[in-house]
Symmetry: C2
Subunit: 425 residues, 2 copies
């Protein structure tokens, strides 16, 4: 991944600060407001951040992929409606409330974004809404409209400000950047729970000043999402709000193949960052599946292993309980047309633990693997920065055919339960 270890939050932030400037043609603003949700009148005021990503001029060179959840949030509905039809000049992002399944959700979102369009004299429908947070509460429309206008008057934020403002239960801000050929690609992202393929309560905004057509952007976005964000899982829930935008200001020319390679790399780095910062994540699992009978089966196996609660809890406990890996593999493979138990080889951290239909474990190997898990572990409560970039590597060779994949996931910890048992209180 290229990222070095950070010793404290300050060091991490100063690293992010050094990669936080906006690509040419973009500006950003960040502000916050207090509100009391209509649905929880008795509660004390909550704080919401609003961020605006703004282009100098409207562009057609953008695309987005959204959640496939059958109850998409209003911002997803608006984004889907506009894709390929409307030009984009800005994205307005709020945290705290995701604006999902509210009868006035779409009109609320439009009321707020159009107040920005009017204030700045932009084209109608050129500011896109994006929201994350509690499902089922209504946005505080009046407060947000007022705040949106003041936001337009101070567009001096950098991407670290944005990365911090869009956080919900994220422990630290996340930015990934590549500079080459005089231009740059920068991704800011948030996402900590509800992380599962087909996107997650994950908002990712990729900004670039490299010149690409809308069609290229659309193709790149889909193929790179499949190879990165659709291969991670924190808790197997697919959110109602996941959105991944790629927007170009078109200022610099670029070789498309090089762009693709750098962009893919960025996406993978951000995807693993999202897992590492998953709610309560104490270990990042990297499951490398090979020898699968089909691409789909490879994916099923990878996902089954990173999502099995008994595997996740064992790894949290630094317990090389390899029986649970075999249990989870056998569960998901029970529906495969071909599956040969005798061909399966399982490795953890490079050590063979299962082969020829039986376990190759002993006391020494148990201790070694337990130490390996400990070495890869992170404190459940992250202190504002990623403690390291190590993954628990699990290799599964199914010995059937040439298909392979890599899937990332997290363990299951007390902290995950704690954060999600009282998220709204």
């Amino acid at each position: 991944m290229g990222k070095k270890k950070f010793n404290d939050a300050e060091e991490y932030k100063s690293y992010l600060k050094s990669i936080a400037n906006l690509p040419e043609g973009f500006k950003a603003g960040v502000t916050s407001l207090k509100f009391v949700p209509e649905e929880k009148k008795a509660s004390k005021p909550l704080s919401m951040n609003m961020s605006l990503l703004l282009l100098d001029s409207p562009v057609s060179a953008y695309s987005a992929v959204f959640t496939k959840n059958a109850f998409p949030g209003a911002p997803v509905l608006v984004g889907k409606e506009r894709l390929g039809k409307e030009q984009l000049q800005g994205i307005l992002i709020n945290n705290k409330i995701s604006n999902v399944c509210i009868s006035s959700g779409v009109s609320d979102a439009l009321e707020i974004t159009s107040s920005i369009e009017k204030h700045l004299g932009l084209k109608e429908h050129s500011v896109f809404p994006s929201s994350t947070g509690v499902i089922g509460w209504r946005l505080p429309v009046q407060e947000m409209k007022e705040c949106a206008v003041s936001l337009c008057d101070n567009l001096s934020a950098d991407l670290l400000d944005v990365a911090e403002a869009i956080m919900t239960t994220d422990a630290y801000p996340k930015i990934v950047r590549r500079d080459f050929d005089g231009g740059s690609i920068v991704l800011v992202g948030k996402g900590a729970g509800m992380i599962e393929p087909n996107m997650a309560t994950m908002l990712i905004f990729a900004l670039t000043d490299f010149n690409l057509t809308g069609i290229d952007i659309n193709n790149l976005l889909k193929s790179c999402a499949d190879k990165s964000f659709n291969r991670i899982s924190v808790d197997s829930d697919q959110s109602t709000s996941d959105s991944f935008y790629l927007v170009s200001s078109g200022k610099r020319s670029v070789n498309l193949d090089q762009f693709r390679s750098e962009f893919e790399d960025c996406c993978r780095e951000m995807a693993v960052d999202i897992v590492r910062n998953g709610e309560g994540t104490a270990h990042v699992l990297e499951v490398r599946v090979s020898g699968a009978g089909s691409a789909e089966e490879a994916h099923i196996v990878g996902k089954a292993l990173v999502n099995a609660p008994l595997v996740k809890t064992a790894i949290f406990g630094n317990d090389p309980n390899v029986g649970r890996l075999i249990g989870a593999l056998g569960d998901c493979a029970s529906s495969f047309p071909y599956f040969f138990r005798d061909h399966v080889v399982l490795k953890i951290g490079g050590e063979t633990v299962f082969k020829n239909r039986s376990f190759s474990m002993n006391d020494e190997k148990e201790k070694k693997l337990s130490k390996y898990f400990e070495d890869c572990s992170m404190p459940e409560k992250k202190d504002g920065f990623p403690p390291h970039f190590k993954n628990v590597v699990i290799e599964v060779d199914l010995g059937l055919n040439r298909f392979e994949t890599v899937v990332y996931g997290s363990d299951l910890t007390y902290e995950y339960v704690r954060e999600n048992a009282d998220y709204r209180s």
Copy 2:
């Protein structure tokens, strides 16, 4: 369910004692031994229980359903091989080690069971093995053989002794019984984690003295498992060892329809008992799906809701975060050919919380539902008896067609994580 509330473990046990006598034609024995696993030489000795269920004479009137996991344990392989071919006279059950994926697993199991056959002069292959516990360790064959012989000499146990001896992380023993027409059906069961349809690390032994043919038993077993044990999920893992036996001593005649109805009822009661005693379970979820487009879709929706970690943690926290239910429903329904958001009606504890594509929540309803969850909650650490028999009832009407189902599951708690992070230590 007919079961009353119990005030303490003593009251619960005396209730079980009152229903623990064996049906006519059966005997039982229970004993225990100490051993050190080959794979963990350095560990202190562990304790294992062995139980024997024995018929007066061998019968063909038995059947079993087993896990569909692609790595079944040796006892499952032996049972599948014998079904429909060999007569059954006994079942030898051990806890602590599940005998899965050990190269000598089948011969180990046969060595132990045949020592009983020889000692008692029974037919070859008439004593069936059944194991639950850690995957990947080898059975202590010598110790178990010695113990098996002494087990045969003291067959005065009742089904409470057996229900207690087969426990692993179960908090309390589980027995379900129906007496009618001069005969009885009694189920003893264990299972606390790895609980998911297609059976679970769940061992259920149903004994009856009613006279049924092997074919009737086979049909009954499959249809009743589908309506009970295949509709529960504690943590979505399908174990390698799940087994559900129904064995008849054939002493009394019975009407088949009446038997089916009573047996179905027993299975459902035991299935919910298993969920209630799930690892760390603090709430039993009862998801009633109606109006589904097909039986399969009804099942998918029910399972998706009881398995969604964010739903499970919210309910653990007594938080009526109905947005997460909609998120999980939208996730699983994204693949349905027909799905109308406008038709969906969602109720919790009889209260409508979602209708006409939007939430019907307010401050008062939030409080009421939170109280409802609290009222249905149980201590995570169970004190040797089920604290009550209340379920959190979630109704989902999809408004598509006439298909429906009921699925049971549990919430996700600290205690679940704790038990599974250090299960083997």
